[in-house]
Structure formats: C-alpha cells, structure tokens
Amino acid sequence: MSEVTTVATGWGLSFIVVVTYALWIVGRGKTVGRELGIGGQEELDPGSDSSMPADS
C-alpha cells in the first residue's frame, strides 16, 4: 500500500466509524423517543436535514 492510499484508508475509516456511530446515536434517540410517545405530535419531515448529525 502506498503512503497516500494508507493515509486515505486511515482517515476514511475513522470518519466512517465516527459518522456511523453519530448517526446510530441520533437514530436510536428518535426510535426510543417514538416508543416513549414524545414527539409524536410533530410530523417528521422527510425532506429536512434532520439526518445530519451536527444539526442535532
């Protein structure tokens, strides 16, 4: 593996892991929230950027 490929793999992997983890946390929050019945009034807008982790 060349140096550049290695660096790209390393950074890429790290970002994928962190972003996936963040999305999972947010997703889980929504799921459990729905089970609890909180936020049941407001409709989840599919077109909104609510899936962006940093916005939460």
């Binding site: 593996m1 140096e3 550049v4 290695t6 660096v7 793999t9 390393g10 950074w11 992997l13 790290s14 892991v17 962190v18 983890y21 963040a22 946390i25 947010v26 889980r28 929050g29 929504k30 459990v32 929230g33 089970e35 609890l36 909180i38 936020g39 009034q41 407001e42 989840l44 609510s50 982790p53 940093a54 916005d55 939460s56």
Partner: protein, 253 residues
C-alpha cells in the same frame, strides 16, 4: 442536563446544536490542516498525517476512560447516600466508556496502518500497542457487563466497581508491559518510538486534538441522552406491566 431534549430531534437541544455545528467546522479545518496544509515529514513522508488522527484518538480515549472512572466513583458515593441516587453519574460513565472504546478502536486501526507503512508490519509487540489492545478489550468487557439485564442500581454498582478496578489496573498493565518490552529491546532500534514533531506538524497535532475533543464531547452528550431515554422507556414498560397485572388481580378478585 439542563434542558429537556427537543421533540423532533430526540436528543437535541439548542446548546448541542451549536456544539455540533462547531464540531463540523472544527473537523473541516482539521482535514484541511492535516491533509493539505501541513507538510509531509522528511522521514515518514505522507504517513505522518495518520498521526493527526492516531494520537488525538488515544488521548481522547484516555480522557473518556478517566471520565468513566470519576463518574463511577461519584455514583458509588451517591448511591450510598440516597437509595436511587447518582443515576446520572452511571449514565455518564456508560456513555463516556462507549465513546472511549470507539476512539481506542480508531487508535488501533490508524496505528496499524501507520505501522504498515513505517515499520513494514501491521503489528509489533511493543509496549504501546500491546497496552492499547488490553485497554480496548477491558472496556469492551465493561460495555458487555453494562448490557446485562438487571435493575439499574445493581447494574450500576457492578459496573462502577468494574470501572474503578479497571482504572487502577491501567498503570499496572502499562508498567508491566512496558518493562517487559524494554527488556527485549536489546540492540534493535526503538521500534515503537514516535518521531520528533515540530513546527507546523506540532500545531496541527494540537489542533486536531481540540477538534477530536469537540467531536467526542458531542458524542458523549448525545449518547448520555439516549441512555436516559432508554431508561425512561424501560421504567415505563415496567410500570405498565405492573399496572396490567394489578388490573388482572382486580378483575379476578
């Protein structure tokens, strides 16, 4: 936790939205600095860029585990004073540990890739790597223990003791493994030694640590809130179960 989470985004509050935005910007800057602006190393070449993720990750992981241990200690103290007390410390311990494990994993992965380029092998039995693997598995075990069903206080106490004992064990493990490998170094070049980092690389490293800390904080806060929501749900489910049982008894009576 000062504010109740918002309704649409379950774990969001205005404060953490700001934190999240800051995190995004910080990461963008880190990518710029780490991958573009900062120079390649004379000896390692481009591979040095891996260290901008590798080193901050392990520092943040250490910090997270310290947080877990402190929280665990506070939980045990609080749980003595009040029967149901200190639950927030327990949640913080759990969320910090999970984030710590994620970043320890990143440390190992980036470290192995770095090693592949600089040493030629993915793995060396040097002190640092070996200790990090043990640390990783230790807290993985902690997370496994947290998953086991039990009432929150019992589980909290059990995992809190584990966190404290594990924490005390870290310097012991570090010392033993370090001494073990030092004895075996002999004539070979210091295999795991990190290169000298100066100038722009130094500042990039420092800044990256800041960026990763912000990201980790965001993760810990949100993970904490999810744990709290899950506990709320479990409690409600339990109450509903008890209520329905009582109703059955009433009907039969």
């Amino acid at each position: 936790m000062a504010q109740m989470p918002g309704t649409k985004h379950m774990t969001a509050t205005p404060a953490t939205r700001v934190l999240g935005a800051v995190a995004l910007v910080a990461v963008l800057l880190m990518v710029l600095l780490g991958l573009v602006v900062s120079p390649a190393d004379v000896v390692q070449g481009q591979a040095v860029r891996m260290l901008y993720l590798h080193v901050p990750s392990i520092w943040i992981a250490y910090g997270a585990f310290v947080l877990t241990s402190l929280s665990s200690a506070l939980f045990l103290i609080r749980s003595r004073r009040r029967h149901d007390g200190g639950r927030h410390y327990d949640r913080l311990a759990g969320s910090a540990a999970e984030v710590g494990v994620v970043f320890t994993g990143i440390t190992l992965a980036t470290g192995m890739l770095w090693g592949r380029v600089t040493w030629g092998t993915y793995w060396q039995w040097d002190a640092r790597l070996t200790t990090t693997v043990l640390l990783f598995v230790t807290y993985l075990g902690y997370l496994a223990l947290r998953r086991l069903p039990a009432d929150p206080m019992t589980r909290g106490r059990r995992t809190a003791v584990m966190a404290l004992v594990s924490f005390v064990n870290v310097p012991i493990v570090h010392y033993s493994v370090d001494w073990w490998r030092t004895l075996h170094q002999k004539a070979s070049l210091s295999v795991g030694r990190r290169p000298e980092i100066t100038g722009e690389m130094y500042w990039t490293l420092l800044y990256s640590t800041l960026a990763v800390t912000i990201v980790a904080s965001w993760l810990i806060v949100h993970r904490y809130r999810v744990i709290r929501l899950e506990e709320l749900r479990d409690e409600e489910a339990l109450e509903a179960l008890i209520a329905s049982r009582l109703k059955e008894d009433d009907v039969q009576a």
